[in-house]
């Protein structure tokens, strides 16, 4: 009896979350219906964003969002996993505590300030040292073409990486830490080195948790607004170069929502929110698929 009740109660809360997502989507769909009727599917493929002439298209924003988030994830994941392994398997306890505290503190910095740090510290550094160096190292490569302004996709990817490292580190650290000691001891007793133990006994066991951490980080990157807006250059263009300015969906909503002076404009911005929702779904699915592929052949968790 009590068991069924408990099951039901926890189930109800699960349903609540589904309802919440449904509500969000419904609200967004409702408020963007004008834009959907006006532009139809062309909204997704048009590259023009001209509020003055009532023309709206989402493609450059989709591009900027996907590229900056993927870049952030590519930078942040290996580093974060390295940190997590270091914290759990190698570092002395006190150092681990200090590092963990610093990492979690970062999550609390208002992103507008992180953005200001980006403008006044990171962007000049990129502009003066990193970007010219990249251009010298890879002359003529389209990925690093264009004038080094400091702001652009690279800066956005970096600042997003800084923002999602805490999420990925904190969760994967916990997941690895909770791998039973017996699991490790078994390996060590077989004569395995520490790394072999980590690789064969800890990582496979922690895999689903690590994926969860990555997906949460990706979510944060996709939806992050203020800090990205400060450093991405906010130009709705599609350019192969990481040094060029770009624009994300969350940024355009944050930038223009309060100053959207007519209904169609507001509606188009909310439709951007809806598109971002769809992109988030696709990228989550892609991340899972990718992980499932690469994980094949690896030893599985018991």
């Amino acid at each position: 009896m009590a068991d069924t009740a408990f099951r039901r109660v926890s189930f109800v809360f699960g349903v609540l979350i589904v309802a919440l997502v449904a509500l969000m989507v419904y609200e967004m769909a409702q408020q963007s219906s004008l834009s959907m009727r006006t532009f139809g599917p062309a909204f997704l493929t048009s590259t023009t964003w001209d509020p003055q002439h009532r023309a709206f298209g989402a493609l450059p924003f989709i591009y900027g969002t996907v590229v900056s988030s993927v870049l952030a994830l590519v930078i942040a994941t290996p580093i974060s996993l390295g940190v997590a392994i270091f914290l759990v398997e190698m570092s002395p306890n006190w150092l681990g505590n200090v590092i963990s505290a610093v990492v979690e503190l970062l999550a609390a910095i208002p992103s507008v300030l992180l953005g200001l740090w980006g403008i006044f510290v990171m962007v000049p550094f990129l502009q003066r040292y990193v970007e010219p160096a990249l251009q010298t190292a890879f002359p003529g490569v389209p990925l690093f073409d264009g004038a080094p302004y400091g702001v652009g996709l690279l800066a956005a990817g970096l600042i997003l990486a800084i923002m999602i490292v805490p999420t990925i580190v904190a969760i994967s650290r916990d997941v690895m830490a909770s791998v039973p000691i017996a699991q490790r001891e078994g390996m060590l007793a077989l004569g395995a080195t520490k790394w072999e133990t980590t690789r064969r006994a800890v990582l496979p066991y922690a895999r689903s948790g690590i994926v969860g951490a990555m997906v949460l980080g990706l979510g944060r990157a996709l939806g992050e607004t203020m800090a990205v807006t400060m450093v991405i250059g906010n130009r709705p263009v599609i350019s192969p170069s990481l040094l060029d300015p770009s624009y994300t969906m969350a940024s355009v909503i944050a930038n223009e929502f309060t100053e959207a002076t007519y209904e169609l404009y507001v509606s188009a911005l909310i439709e951007i929110g809806l598109v971002l929702f769809a992109v988030t779904i696709l990228m989550n699915a892609a991340a899972r698929l990718l992980v499932a592929r690469t994980a094949r052949g690896m030893p599985v968790a018991p």
């Binding site: 809360f13 979350i17 909770s178 790394w195 980590t198 990706l218």
Partner: protein, 291 residues
């Protein structure tokens, strides 16, 4: 079986030890790379914030630009109230939904729920704010602490849910089985054995969520709205630290900039204290090495 094979395949012990050392160095290096910008950011805030820190900051109401003194005591109280409202909603929902996913979460519904929760993390916070605005602020015809708290709770829920699930999943099946074998009911097993064992992970999730919402500006702009005064109740506008920081940070005046950085420093300290406090109460260190 498989593992034994793996070990036999690796030939020389020296080589294995070298790889071991190399990997250790690599992880230490990753830590340095990851921690460096974090330390830089934190240091930047400390350096910029220290100037503006004084007792006025946490005891006085905002002063007009150009006038000495003044603080943002109302914003700190406001943020505490907003976080409390958000936690009151998000923690039960998030933790219980996480319990559902980890303990009973098999089948299509659970997969959908898991997926939607992840997707929810990707909704930009400003969109969350817009929805809360439409649903709560417009009908009430007033910005309110309540709407702000609700908006923040939507941002908290997915993090809490997924971290709870991950934390509980890591609790070894043997422990559950032992409890069930002793005739303990499932619900009691979950509440008394599984959740306490996974508490460290849950606390991490809660901390991450609280840290994140204490710095959120966008969802509060159209909900909590902000105020230069003390709050007047849950259905009235209320001040919040990130809103105040935002307003000060984008202004042209140095004394407001100083206060913005100082407030960020206090915000960080608040999260640090909360973090340490909760961890000492729940007796889970930053690192709990398994069971």
């Amino acid at each position: 079986m498989q593992r034994a094979l793996v070990l036999r395949r690796t030939r020389s012990i020296t080589r294995r030890l070298i790889v071991d050392r190399a990997m250790a160095t690599l992880f230490a290096l990753a830590t340095v790379i990851a921690v460096a910008p974090l330390v830089l950011v934190v240091a930047y805030i400390v350096v910029n914030g220290v100037r503006g820190i004084d007792l006025d900051l946490v005891t006085k109401l905002p002063a007009p630009v150009g006038e000495a003194g003044g603080g943002m005591a109302n914003a700190f109280v406001g943020s505490a109230i907003l976080i409390a409202i958000a936690s009151a909603v998000a923690l039960p929902v998030g933790i219980l939904a996480g319990v559902y996913l980890s303990e009973f979460g098999r089948g299509r519904f659970a997969a959908t729920l898991r997926f939607l929760t992840d997707v929810l993390t990707g909704i930009p916070s400003i969109v969350v704010g817009i929805v809360a605005y439409t649903l709560v602020v417009v009908p009430f015809r007033s910005f309110s602490a309540l709407s702000g708290g609700l908006a923040l709770s939507i941002i908290m829920i997915p993090t809490v849910t997924r971290t709870t699930e991950e934390a509980l999943k890591r609790v070894p099946t043997t422990i559950r089985e032992a409890s069930l074998a002793l005739g303990v009911h499932e619900w009691k097993t979950v509440l008394r054995i599984v959740i306490p064992t996974g508490l460290g992970g849950i606390v991490t999730g809660v901390m991450l969520a609280i840290a994140r919402i204490s710095g959120e500006t966008a969802p509060l702009l159209f909900t909590a709205f902000g105020s230069s005064f003390w709050g007047e109740g849950p259905l009235k506008p209320i001040a919040a630290v990130p809103l105040q920081i935002f307003q000060y940070a984008i202004s042209p005046y140095k004394e407001w900039h100083d206060q913005a950085w100082a407030a960020a420093l206090v915000l960080m300290l608040f999260v640090l204290v909360l973090n340490v406090g909760i961890r000492s109460v729940t007796r889970t260190g930053f690192q709990s090495r398994g069971v």
